[in-house]
Symmetry: D2
Amino acid sequence: MLRYWTAGESHGKALVTVVDGFPCGLEIDVATIDRELLRRQGGYGRGGRQRIEADRVEILSGTWRLLTLGSPIAMQIVNRDAKLERLDDLDQPRPGHADLTGAIKHLGSIRGVLERASARETAARVAAGALARQLLSAFGIDLLGYVVELGGLPIPVPPGSLADHRSIRDASAVYGLNVEQDGAVKARIDDAGRRGDTLGGIVEVRVEGLPIGLGTHAQWDRKLDGRLAQAVMAVQAIKGVEIGLGFEAARRPGSAVHDPIRYDRSSSHLPHLGYLRPSNHAGGLEGGITNGQPLVLRAAMKPISTLAARLPSVNMATKESEPAAYERSDICAVPAASVVVENVVAFEIARAWTEKFGNDSIAEAQARYDQYLSLSRQR
Amino acid sequence: MLRYWTAGESHGKALVTVVDGFPCGLEIDVATIDRELLRRQGGYGRGGRQRIEADRVEILSGTWRLLTLGSPIAMQIVNRDAKLERLDDLDQPRPGHADLTGAIKHLGSIRGVLERASARETAARVAAGALARQLLSAFGIDLLGYVVELGGLPIPVPPGSLADHRSIRDASAVYGLNVEQDGAVKARIDDAGRRGDTLGGIVEVRVEGLPIGLGTHAQWDRKLDGRLAQAVMAVQAIKGVEIGLGFEAARRPGSAVHDPIRYDRSSSHLPHLGYLRPSNHAGGLEGGITNGQPLVLRAAMKPISTLAARLPSVNMATKESEPAAYERSDICAVPAASVVVENVVAFEIARAWTEKFGNDSIAEAQARYDQYLSLSRQR
Amino acid sequence: MLRYWTAGESHGKALVTVVDGFPCGLEIDVATIDRELLRRQGGYGRGGRQRIEADRVEILSGTWRLLTLGSPIAMQIVNRDAKLERLDDLDQPRPGHADLTGAIKHLGSIRGVLERASARETAARVAAGALARQLLSAFGIDLLGYVVELGGLPIPVPPGSLADHRSIRDASAVYGLNVEQDGAVKARIDDAGRRGDTLGGIVEVRVEGLPIGLGTHAQWDRKLDGRLAQAVMAVQAIKGVEIGLGFEAARRPGSAVHDPIRYDRSSSHLPHLGYLRPSNHAGGLEGGITNGQPLVLRAAMKPISTLAARLPSVNMATKESEPAAYERSDICAVPAASVVVENVVAFEIARAWTEKFGNDSIAEAQARYDQYLSLSRQR
Amino acid sequence: MLRYWTAGESHGKALVTVVDGFPCGLEIDVATIDRELLRRQGGYGRGGRQRIEADRVEILSGTWRLLTLGSPIAMQIVNRDAKLERLDDLDQPRPGHADLTGAIKHLGSIRGVLERASARETAARVAAGALARQLLSAFGIDLLGYVVELGGLPIPVPPGSLADHRSIRDASAVYGLNVEQDGAVKARIDDAGRRGDTLGGIVEVRVEGLPIGLGTHAQWDRKLDGRLAQAVMAVQAIKGVEIGLGFEAARRPGSAVHDPIRYDRSSSHLPHLGYLRPSNHAGGLEGGITNGQPLVLRAAMKPISTLAARLPSVNMATKESEPAAYERSDICAVPAASVVVENVVAFEIARAWTEKFGNDSIAEAQARYDQYLSLSRQR
């Protein structure tokens, strides 16, 4: 079982990720992880913190001469702005954050909660996903996250391959797939910034190259759709998750939702075994199991909860009305969220992948993957 | 830790639920469970199976003279239509079901997969939730699920208390909160039925009476929003989950999303400790932790995947194009889904509740709950 | 991940076992499970309850025409003596049982605790193990449990194959491997019975046919030795667990403990790949991983805690000294414990086995097993 | 739920421990952790590595101004001898280690396995336990580990309090409770060293101040005795675990095993609520639950598997007989094992403690502890 946990506060010494159960024998490319970390820090609308930090991962364990050992992989991202010990507590919880709820739950400080609840923690999750995607990549599975709506402005997804889309996204200041629209999106962010306001949006992740058979229908806590939903909804500021048509599926009749099954002998050597679908409304998952089509998932991010134009709050000590505290923050982190969601999805896919093909060694997994395609072709 | 698993096939001998970690000393009302099971079987649009079954739960363990013992509670729902051994396999997987994906994954039969993947399994999950809600009820927490959209037709939610809404819902043939609209909704279902088609919809669950502090912000796999999303997305046919404003939150600026914090001394004895919010866009969760406001969650259900007007499929043996197999099914199960989602939410809330207040005994939990309100009031 | 839970009280309606994650496509022999259940009920020294019950398992789910489906397998053992609702509470906790500790922990009744803590629950665990061993059997792994000491009397283990030993054990009234000694052992049990006393003993389990590589060294909670120790120590009345030489290993120098490694090309096709050991002091586990030698584990069972010659206790209501309550019990259940330990070991081995070879289908696991032997032979 | 994982290779950059679910508001004393780490490095019989390393923990997360935050606590022990990248692979697996089993399992190198399987990893586990014991300490629970047998030489435990015993142990070169015997024990170690041999032994841990009611009888995988056995058996080189009388309990009649229950009103304010036992053969656990008596557990450590007088082995590349590889090692690490076992026991007790009293905050746990003693006194 592939699993991970993170540790670390926003202004603490470091963020730490421990990945347990990663197979032996994969050559890790640290630059791939750093590239994802850098992308997470970017996107139009980020604030001053991103200019201070320049996240780099250090692998502390689990590799020898760049090859994974099958033992736990600990990764560390050192915080440059590690000023936690010098920071003070706050008295006015910020609506939308864990400030109020966490301080009461733990009978503790707001500082102690916000430092952990901060979206800075997502860097540690990105590190886990950026490791996991290298496993997927070794087996021809690729994925991409991008912004499909920002501040109410839809950003259309043009036709094209994942590689095409990656090029476009990498050229976009807002991580969308329509660079010509970047100006309009940036203007909307600037406008929100001028008002002391913040913006949210919707991100989409597409995973390609998946075989049929990851996940299960057999027990509720092992279904892949449920696990993906947990991983994504547990990302800071995410308030909605949908797969395939998602909420739109609720509005159409079944005849316009379910993807007919065709068989194409000439593509039966591919991971989908030749079972083609003229549409992909299911988003690649049927019965909690991958169906060989691209997995498509969207997540809704609320606007950042820290507003320069402070929202009404209460001083928890005096119980008097006071504006919410303000901690340096971004105007919009939807591009960053597209990176985070992409990478937590990568991890869950890798988890399901190792449950199917094992996590002892890449050599064995490779042989099993071929074997499975062969056996399942005969099914 | 409160946890549960289910077992059982659609036409097997019985559905079984085992709930582990339930506190000692709660008087269980079996009729409450049976009432939820009956509701799950109802709602306009169900098919013949519901006329055969009349689900009743039998508690096999974990109670003595109706009081829970703190030991695992096993529940059984016997299938009347227990004809699995006489049923044959299918050759044409039904699009939208686990037929294709599961048969390939397990290198096995379609029958073996569909029998478990069937939504009949949700009866076992409802039993778990209907047990859990009795724990919540003992601490003033109540919840209600209802249909807010069906076949593309929105069903508005009128103002009113949970009790008011329960009365309305219980009087509605489609489990909505606007009985006058029932006729129109039923007509839409009838129309779909005539076309051999099926309908989906959107359900909403509202939980009231929650204290501040259930869930956590501290680790991704323990956040309450993530767990709720997993539990709900893992329900058969659910393709989207959103909390509070959900996807709408992505479209508004932060100033129109985050719920200002006020303090009202006169209500500080209540579970929300006097921390009031003029709006509840967060849907009761901030930072993965309950904030004392009603928890509001919506789920999108796709139309039922089994269509009388059979969809194009493939004979897995011959690989020739053939219409999908047809097994007796419903036209619309959105009302039932509102019951299922309501009850899986109840279970996750109860899980978070016992993590906060313990699962050894109701007597101790009661004392702790009072103590927590007192301690947190002083925070 | 293969996992299981049990539910059920000693005098409740039924014992229930749910096994989740069992591979698809194994033909289950119910008689094998019943035979283990019957053996658990036997052995010299058992009391009246065993004459009332005649445990038979009923499989409620997870199979179709005797083949496993990959879905959860729920099993039920109905209690004949299902008189729980008519039984009263006790006031005088029995030393050695959970009576005192459980009643205080749960602020509840002694009855509510003892009904679950009773060793009758081990029947449900035997069912899980008796299922799991059929999976092992399909891959040439066999195991045997037997009594090696009873009431202080050692019962020697003669040389011989597992099959030889099974024949001897099945012929022994005390499940030992030296039938000629049965009379002396029975006399010791009879003598204890006459004094109103009880006896404990030591059981040994040997597992043969294991490949190299089950378990892991990589993380503490996934090591196979640790998991075996948990499973065995969690069996009622077990107070000690040792693997291989166990405590004796602590007394010898390293040169007399560690098993030299030899290589025998002519046996390299066997699961141990030709890596032979002239001794097996490690008991088949090195670094938390199987080494291809027989896995040997011993467990110490304390005497049954319910004595006819009642031990001093206290009336919990009055706090006055009173003799402990007496509930019908056995004089000696060491033979039964050998069955229970054997079967919980079988389950943990099967769990490690499916972690290595997958739990989707037997057909795939078979292909993988062959493949692994081939790949690891080239290592 | 309190949980932890470790990462790190013997000669990698660092050992890392992540502790998740630790309550908010405890003041951590880093010196306490360093003291345990130092003790782990000590004891007569250690080799050169301990002269290179001087383990110090650095807390990377989870605290603010020394107070825990309720968020994950990551700890790092930097390796001075971090030469992994310069080390070569081995060809001759050392009997007793994971060298052979791990290399085959992972189809990988021996180096990659031994670096993680090495007992150096226990430093990371000691860090987890040394943190956990500070939680226990805040609630009057103390524990001590010491050596009771080494190389076959028993070291008697004199009467005395835990504090008395700690003084003696801290003065002993072999961490025993009979300093006068140290010379004889050291001579035995020296003698083994001269022969190129190694020694094992038996360690004992005693935990005092425990309330009644930690652990449970209700489900096999939550029983405290099982969890302790797992944690201890999963420590490198441990081959046996016993609680209370352990294996000796198997040899006595029940009347000489089970601890009579007495009630002493004058001590009813203590954690044991006045329920006294003239003996403690159960070792503080009945039915998987603490009974208010000292918890006593013993573990058998085999001699170190790396012998200067190399054992017969095989070159895995050539399959020719060759002596086992030799990596710098100790002659005897039983004193160190007493520290490791003591600290993994501390962690499991703390885990059970937080399951009973919660892990949100120390302030709340303190109030609950008092409340529980009050409520359970009335039981």
